[in-house]
């Protein structure tokens, strides 16, 4: 791995908060993560831990206010958070594109599938209407939508959920992005379709050399697709590791809880298996516990955990964990 080279995307100390009526919600609280060239990085964590907000912050797709984004999102040596409106617009859908969780609601119901793909191509690649339409048809063929030419002329309501997600992928890849932010691309689909979409995505990734930040609940998907995994809890990264090592030996008690019983790598990974339930609930972001945010639910809680925030400890072999258990005293 080219560790000495710059990563494609580096998020440094990202803070995203929402100013709401009840106060300030720190949805993302000091996240650091990197996506190397050509790799797939998995981002996992319970619902509400800030995965989507992290992804949306990268492209600044949150309405500000109420959102406020701070920190650095370095892409090709530039901080995306410093770009002006035009600057970030030229990145969106072009160098970095995004796939959303809900195929049923994320396509515009009053525009044809073809137009929704072609408009981005016209915008970023400067193609003519005809060329862009051809290209849209080509992309639909690439994501294996049967009868692509006819489908391009249809409206989203005529397509099934799986077909719409394929169309979404076609749209996201239409300008040949370097980075794809996939926010739970298969969660809303049933199991067989999930498997098809995932294999489509990994094929396309090979073909286009796209890096992927893959957000998911599904450990099977992570095991199959990702090379590294980042685990988030309540707006913070609690653990990062290469995928094999994480499954073999999770360090953070939260990760252990999530994994519950670990899917065995090498055997056919079970897609569709959800994260293991951990007793207790995610704390409200308005009233974070002092110290380690996980301590009220942690089976290995120590005195220090409720008093002070744990440091991030870099372990050997590209791993890091944010837990007092591993702090050398």
């Amino acid at each position: 791995m080219n560790t000495d080279n710059e990563p494609l995307l580096a998020i440094r100390n990202l803070h995203t908060c929402f100013h709401v009526f009840e106060g300030v919600v720190n949805a993302v609280d000091g996240v650091d993560l990197e996506v190397p060239h050509g790799e797939t990085v998995g981002l996992v964590g319970e619902s509400g831990c800030g995965k989507s907000v992290t992804a949306l912050s990268i492209l600044r797709l949150l309405r500000c206010p109420p959102a406020e984004i701070q920190g650095q999102v370095i892409f090709h040596g530039r901080n995306l958070l410093d770009l002006d409106r035009e600057g970030i617009r030229k990145i969106r859908g072009n160098a970095i594109s995004m796939i959303f969780q809900e195929p049923m609601t994320s396509l515009n119901p009053v525009l044809t599938i073809g137009e929704q793909i072609a408009e981005a191509v016209r915008l970023h690649q400067g193609m003519s209407r005809r060329e862009a339409w051809r290209w849209a048809e080509e992309m639909l063929r690439m994501v294996q939508i049967p009868g692509a030419r006819a489908r391009a002329r249809e409206y989203p309501h005529k397509l099934s959920g799986g077909m719409r997600q394929r169309a979404m992928i076609a749209m996201a890849l239409s300008c040949n992005p370097q980075l794809l932010l996939a926010d739970e691309p298969t969660t809303a689909l049933d199991v067989t379709i999930q498997a098809q979409i995932m294999s489509l995505m990994s094929n396309l990734k090979e073909e286009f050399g796209t890096s992927i930040l893959l957000i998911t609940h599904d450990l099977g998907v992570i095991a199959e697709m990702a090379s590294r995994v980042i685990v988030m809890y309540a707006g913070k990264v609690v653990e990062e590791a290469p995928v094999k090592e994480l499954f073999k030996e999770p360090l953070h008690p939260y990760t252990k809880g999530l994994l519950g019983s670990v899917p065995v790598i090498g055997r056919k990974a079970q897609t569709g298996r959800r994260l293991h339930e951990i007793p207790g609930t995610v704390p409200s972001l308005l009233e974070m516990p002092r110290g380690c945010r996980f301590h009220p639910r942690c089976p290995k809680m120590m005195d220090v955990c409720s008093g002070e925030e744990p440091p991030t400890i870099h372990m050997g072999g590209d791993r890091r964990v944010c837990c007092w258990l591993f702090a050398k005293t």
């Binding site: 617009r89 594109s97 994320s106 981005a120």
Partner: protein
Amino acid sequence: MLNYVVKRLLSTIPVLIGISLLLFFMLRMLPGDPAQVLAGQMATPQEIELIRHQLGLDKPIHIQYAYFLGRLIHFDLGRSARTQNPVTEEIWARLPNTVLLAVVAITLACIFGIPAGIISAVRPYTWIDYLVTSSALFGISMPVFWLGLMLVVVFSVMLHWLPAGGTGSWKHVILPSFTLAAFVVAFIARMTRSTMMEVLSQDYTTTARSKGLKERVVVTKHALRNALIPIITVVGLQFGLLLGGAVLTETVFAWPGIGRLIVDSILARDYPMIQGTILVFGLLYILVNLVVDLIYAWVDPRIRYG
């Protein structure tokens, strides 16, 4: 499509018969005797009886209705009890005035209301949004006759720019149509704002932004088209109501439209006139609704009529 239109047009016939039936019997249950009103206070019972006979009111009510329907088939609505002129003629004389006012008012309302609503939805909780929402609140709660009188005071009495009432030139149209439009502008602006706010928070709007589209394109191409259905509904309904005439505005500006015709004929218990105007109003309302439904199908690909 043509099939659908024909079917819808045919289905107006039973609706109109229903309206006429209700109207016919309800009118005759109203207190007040048309013959008495027409004959005046000093009339003798014999005179009243004579007029009653001339109006056909001495016959049993179902016979009266049968006569009415029989004439209706020939598009004959009878003669006004008050003026003796054919009802259709009286309506024809007034309808263009009402339609003119309604069209101008609804056009003004769309030109000002829809953009105002869009702007305040795109910039919510900014000064411009507050300006739009508070003016809209003002427009909705302001009494029409008061607004009309104020406009007359300012533009006719004080500035002598525009006539205070009557018809004849485009200048006569300005004050009544603005008066009439005030409420509709406000209503449409509020409706547009709330619909656009909702559409702008939909997932597909985020998708559109994530493609790098300009905000102007996101708003006009992606969001507005989705917001159009509720907006068109409101515009259609308001237009339908305006076609029924605007009694207060017509009264303030001495505007000879349908609204005053209806009120005058109700006061005079002029049965044929009331029946005629209300039937015509019903027909126009149904037609406007049909046009609105056809526009739906054009705007939203999910709607198809067989």
